[in-house]
Symmetry: C2
Subunit: 310 residues, 2 copies
């Protein structure tokens, strides 16, 4: 059974609670704990040796990645992360100095984000190292951006450049927390998600949640230097595009908003974020499905995201 | 380096956040998110194949234990658990029906506790199965019980019976959520903790946090049937007592309160909880350290908790 089919099955029958505004199926859980104007965001994620890093990865980067992944999910809702707990599975004989380095990476990112680490647990792990991070944050109720709000006609944007993350970005990326909050506070975003499964894969999550289709503009997809550097085969250009569409762990933001907001966004962005590109990569459509437009015309995009290639 | 020394080192330099009322070092993190009369409790914990269960453990019991451990920590602060997220590390080839059974165990306990499961993550795990649970809850600000409030002269109580948990209770225990809330709401408890490292080990955590000592009454320690059944050696009675003092994963509540509240507690308890014993096991003292009184007199208790025997 594929991962997403299993998740659909499991999430169909989960117990509910009155405080849950949005449960399984979006970037974070959204909770109404009784605060007047804010919701609480709640997210957990894990990094596992042999899956998200290797035995040779520097411990500091492992700690960084563990927290950054959760922070990226809060960013994708326009949220402000506040407090994390960290659970560590430690292999027998894992050096205490390496544990300290894992925490040094965690702590450095936490300090940059203004996040407190309020404890956690350590467990023995019979095999490799793993870290599970639980992160809380808040978002103004009228500024929380879900996957499900996309509307036909919306313009689709992505931050940064895509593909080739396994060359190093997957360990060192900065979660787009400042960018996500700025976008959500300044513009009426309709839908947003962070790119962990690849543009094609994550866009499909938005399309499913929003009940719309999309058309991507091949010439507008921002292909990273890393994706170009690793592209090979008879058509390196096509391989690089494919990497940008399907490689996982870009951790950029993909969002949609009404066309009337495109011009103000494109004017304000470069002043606020001069070192991060913003690309208008396509449009949401009434017609279901995902299509790619290039110089040869428009065709269905069969490529899936990262998870399906595993 | 022993586990607790490493934890002390790591927690000495964690980033902080203004909302953290109590951080690392108690059963849960306590957060002030701006609610008028309640604090938010936040806890994560994990169960790992080969550490907390085996490859032969029924999946349903694994799911139960994963949530029950976190709920037990909230119970130990007098808290009400509300919403959980579940992160699962799935070995290659782990049967989807077994994953469903893990969730059946989680969901059944969640429903009994009134907890919603608002999503989570699945990851591949190159080796064994593991689950990490993050649990939120609430507690009235004036009813939150910490480890640090114990005072000399306090009476010490434990719920249930102790020792021999690995015979099965460690997989099937019911977290004392109802009992913890009732105690915290009805009586001015000074300190409370749940027993995961054994009575001797967890009592030491309370003594350290509260800056007091304690004397336990050997004849009052409630030894479980499981501890008696497994006790062997030249003195089975002493082996059973040792198991009750040091075996891990009892998940009963240990708490202290002023002597004037002992009589009302002992009167009210059996009416409210006729099927769960409550034992007055000792007293907190000005004199530091942990001592055991038995028919031969009083002597220092050198036994540590579960973690130190690993």
């Amino acid at each position: 059974m594929r991962e997403f089919a299993l998740i659909d099955l499991l999430t169909a029958s989960l117990p509910t609670h009155g405080s849950v505004v949005v449960g399984a199926g979006d970037d974070c859980a959204v909770l109404d704990l009784g605060l007047a104007d804010r919701w609480v965001l709640f997210k957990t994620d894990a990094v596992v040796e042999g899956v998200h890093f290797t035995a040779a990865t520097e411990p500091r980067r492992i700690g960084h990645k563990a927290l950054a992944r959760c922070a990226s999910d809060l960013a994708a809702m326009g949220g402000l992360p506040t407090v994390a707990l960290v659970t560590v599975g430690l292999p027998i004989g894992f050096a205490p100095t390496d544990v300290q380095e894992v925490y040094a990476g965690l702590n450095a990112l936490a300090r940059r984000l203004g996040v407190g680490i309020a404890g956690g647990e350590t467990s023995a792990s019979p095999d490799g190292l793993w870290l599970s991070v639980a992160l809380l944050g808040t978002v103004a109720k009228d500024r929380c951006v879900l996957r499900s709000g996309g509307r036909p006609g919306d313009a689709l944007f992505v931050t940064g450049t895509l593909g080739g993350s396994r060359r190093g970005k997957h360990l060192d990326f900065e979660p787009r927390v400042v960018e996500g909050r700025w976008l959500a506070e300044r513009f009426p975003l309709h839908a947003m998600i962070d790119l962990s499964d690849g543009l094609a894969g994550d866009l499909r999550h938005v399309l499913k949640a929003s009940g719309v289709g999309a058309e991507l503009d091949a010439n507008a997809i921002p292909i990273s230097e890393a994706a170009r550097a690793t592209a090979s085969g008879p058509s390196p250009e096509e391989a690089a595009l494919r990497a940008a569409l399907t490689d996982g762990e870009d951790f950029e933001l993909l969002f949609s908003l009404a066309t009337e907001d495109v011009e103000p966004l494109l004017t304000a962005w470069p002043t606020k974020f001069p070192h991060l590109s913003l690309s208008h990569v396509g449009v949401l459509t009434h017609e279901p499905g995902l299509r790619l437009r290039d110089d040869r015309g428009v065709r269905p995009l069969e490529l899936d995201g990262y998870a399906h290639f595993q």
